[in-house]
């Protein structure tokens, strides 16, 4: 009954050959599991929405679509930075890679600030969680915000990895990037289901 030893991918190739898992397999367990857990939240949201579509739609009208859209672009941009950072790390341009991670983290912080402003504005406008739509809104975006916060910690770990000349393992950078992209992916779906759909 030996322990499962995980093959760490060979890190030094720049081109990605087919069939290679980017990053750490343990992180993919997390990502796939998280997608399933979030999916259950989305489906339960839809079930409650279909029981009372009119009031959900009315409440959706009170969301700030401008901030929602800007936040989507912010998060997409941060994902681009993280993806570029992986390319730089593979190419051995570690300083550049660190710069990209910082840029991505900055976008993450901006996302949280905008989200906080959006929450504060909604609460002061009287949209508390006594409304069914808004209770979903606060819980789903709140849990997503926790994921963003964890993501910032993950990016911090990636920066430390890249700063240390003795380390700089590309699979670590890929692992962090995988997590960050998942945060982005979840937000895109949240944006569609909470802000845009009718």
């Amino acid at each position: 009954m030996g322990k499962v030893t995980v093959q760490q991918p060979d890190t030094e190739t720049v081109a990605v050959p087919d069939g290679r898992l980017p990053g750490d397999v343990h992180m993919w367990v997390m990502v796939l599991g998280d997608l399933i857990v979030f999916s259950s939240y989305f489906l339960i949201y839809l079930i409650y929405r279909s029981m009372d579509p009119e009031s959900f739609l009315r409440a959706q009208q009170h969301l700030d679509i401008n901030i929602g859209s800007i936040n989507t672009v912010v998060l997409l941009t941060s994902s681009l930075f993280v993806a570029r950072s992986v390319l730089s790390a593979r190419a051995g341009a570690h300083r550049q890679a660190i710069g990209f991670v910082y840029a991505a983290g900055g976008c993450g912080v901006l996302f949280m600030v905008l989200k906080g402003y959006e929450w504060a504005a909604k609460i002061s406008a009287g949209h508390t969680n006594s409304d069914m739509f808004f209770s979903f809104y606060y819980v789903i975006t709140g849990v997503h915000l926790v994921h963003v916060l964890i993501g910032l910690i993950v990016l911090g770990v990636v920066v430390r990895e890249l700063q240390n000349p003795g380390r700089r393992r590309t699979w670590m950078v890929e692992t962090g990037a995988t997590y960050w992209h998942m945060v982005d992916l979840l937000w895109v779906i949240i944006f569609g289901l909470l802000y845009v759909m009718r």
Binding site: A15, V16, P17, D18, G19, R20, L21, P22, W28, L32, L35, I36, S39, F42, L43, L46, I47, R49, S50, P53, E54, L57, R58, Q60, Q61, H62, L63, D64, I65, N66, G68, S69, T72, V73, L76, T77, S79, L80, V82, A83, R84, L87, E174, A177, T178, H181, M182, D184, L185, V188, I189, F191, G192, L193, Y195, V196, M197, R198
Partner: protein
């Protein structure tokens, strides 16, 4: 696992492909911005057409993020198929519940 020669070139992630992926994602986001219920001051009505369009756009965006940013398109088969199935089942179920 073994890739046929030639496909390796195609699935290589470059700064250029990432940039294009980002452009596609942002364009779709701006397009969805036009569709949102919050744009209308008078009462909006439910619209199956808009919802279907939104779900299709969400599908495209999620797929772009998965395949290009997360590099799923060059990953093992189980992951490519798994994420694809997950996305279709989720959005299909969303639409099914919406219609029900």
């Amino acid at each position: 696992m073994a890739a046929t020669t030639g496909t390796t070139e195609k699935t290589e992630t470059t700064a250029r492909t990432l940039g294009w992926a980002w452009v596609v994602l942002v364009v779709i986001t701006v397009a969805s911005w036009r569709l949102a219920p919050a744009h209308f001051t008078d009462t909006v009505v439910a619209s199956t057409g808009v919802t279907a369009l939104v779900l299709v756009l969400t599908y495209i965006k999620a797929r772009v993020i998965l395949r290009y940013f997360m590099e799923v398109r060059s990953s093992p088969r189980w992951l490519r198929i798994g994420t694809e199935v997950w996305l279709i089942v989720l959005l299909g179920a969303v639409f099914g519940i919406y219609l029900a």
